[in-house]
Amino acid sequence: MIKVEVDMTKCQHYGQCVFEAPDIFRLNSDDKLEYTAEADDSERANIEAAIDVCPMQAIRIVE
């Protein structure tokens, strides 16, 4: 399992991550980011892509 962490003090809800890892990240009905903190290893590449595109560099994989 992979643990995902988003620093919500940095996150500005741009939602760029949603396109890279749609099973992990989503915008809720208030346009705020929600995410699944534990992911299967098969999601690693998608999560890394989401980390790359985060404008605020707020996403981390906790090893």
Partner: protein
């Protein structure tokens, strides 16, 4: 031993190229040459958080990953020339770097105004972390700040400076700030919101001169008037950093012309083996829109072009049989950008400035809203204030 992949430009695009090379399985040496002393950092905060707060390189630096821990960083050093016959790059210290593949990621630099008295103190442009740190020191409450250029950077800086208590004037060459990308209705609305925050606009105007003793004190406008100025910020577009390539046969007519595999194209239209370009400086056709090569200065383009180039380079270096089919694949990244000004969040996909018609499709322009941008019958972009879920739902239409 094989020569390194040499990446020139130590910004986000250069870093993402190195990371992607590793991700696609390249285990060999990588050299990154960069003019700035800093390792790659995130630029979007420079016009906002970095101007408003005490921010260090550490706070905006990209996290370093284990896979790229062995990259050879050559920082504080410019590449000055390329020898295409011997496949080498020479840097400003005289060091010669042989390459197995060369990635041009030198990006852009701000255009500067051509002014008599141009050496007066108080002139700024904003591209690098050091630019932002220097500018921040001068954005003191009550300072008369004049911003030339009402594009996205100019308007973001205007918003930040206004919030810091500066007295802000934006001088812009057209009828509204951000007019060309946003269209009249949205651009006018953004202008009104800036004016409500105390920002003044001098529209359809340009700067013809500056005056002062050792520092700028006044700016002269083309209508014959003058305004007070303590800090002049020049946000009038960018030039490509391609001078170091002038002795090559690469087509440098606007940035670096590349094919859909990010391979550089010569002035006679031929693919140049082993030479690639990515990011703001790369000019490529995007089949989402048409077959006209364009440079794209949007957030996601360095990352997308870096991945594309790295995939192709790994196939090139390993003589992979898939190389020929890989380079023929379409490359059509959806341009994505945003801009934050005060509490206004603009989010856009596509290429707004290609449009000839702009239509409000959701919400109210005085509140949250979404506009569609069409060129003829073709949807070429979408932009909204707020309503992110609606704007995001459009992205799939471009894929």
């Amino acid at each position: 031993m094989n020569h390194p992949v040499v990446i020139v430009g130590a910004s986000m695009g250069g870093l993402r190229t190195a990371e992607s090379l590793r991700r696609f399985g390249y285990l060999g040496p990588i050299t990154i040459i960069g003019e700035e002393a800093h390792k790659p950092y995130n630029r979007p905060p420079l016009s906002k958080e970095v101007l408003a707060n005490e921010v260090t390189h550490e706070a905006v630096a990209f996290e370093e990953r284990a896979a790229t821990a062995d990259v050879n960083w050559v920082l504080g050093t410019r590449a000055v020339s390329v020898d295409q016959e011997h496949n080498t790059v020479t840097d400003s210290s005289g060091m010669v770097h042989p390459y197995s593949a060369l990635v041009i990621a030198t990006g852009l630099r701000p255009k500067r105004l051509n002014l008599a008295n141009g050496d007066l103190a108080g002139r700024h442009a904003l591209r690098t972390l050091d630019d932002a740190i220097n500018l921040r020191a001068e954005l003191t409450p009550g300072a008369d700040v004049v911003i030339v250029g009402g594009g996205f950077i100019g308007c973001e800086v205007a918003a930040t400076a206004a919030k810091l208590g500066c007295d802000v004037t934006v001088i812009h060459h057209s009828a509204h700030p951000m007019l060309r990308p946003l269209g009249t209705e949205l651009a006018r609305q953004m202008q009104l919101r800036h004016e409500a925050e105390g920002v003044r606009f001098l529209l359809n105007r340009s700067v013809v001169g500056v005056s002062g003793d050792s520092r700028i004190r006044e700016v002269q406008i083309d209508d014959g008037s003058s305004i007070k100025c303590d800090v002049l910020i020049e946000a009038v577009g960018s030039d490509s950093n391609t001078e170091w390539l002038e002795s090559t046969n690469i087509d440098l007519s606007d940035g670096v012309l590349v094919d859909s595999a990010m391979r550089a194209i010569s002035t006679s239209g031929n693919i140049i083996p082993k030479v690639y370009a990515i990011g703001d400086v790369a000019r490529f056709a995007n089949p989402i829109f048409d077959d006209v090569p364009r440079r794209v200065e949007h957030w996601n383009i360095p990352t997308e072009t870096a991945k594309r180039a790295a995939d192709v380079i790994v196939a090139q270096l390993s003589d992979d049989e898939k190389f020929e089919s890989l380079v023929q694949e379409q490359f059509k990244p959806v341009p994505s950008f945003w801009s934050d000004q005060y509490d206004i969040h603009l989010l856009a996909f596509g290429s707004l400035s290609l449009s000839d018609t702009v239509t409000l499709v959701a919400g109210d322009v005085t509140g949250e809203c979404v506009f569609e941008y069409h060129r003829g019958d073709q949807l070429v972009g979408v932009c909204g204030i707020g309503m992110r879920s609606v704007v995001q739902s459009y992205r799939a239409k471009f894929i």
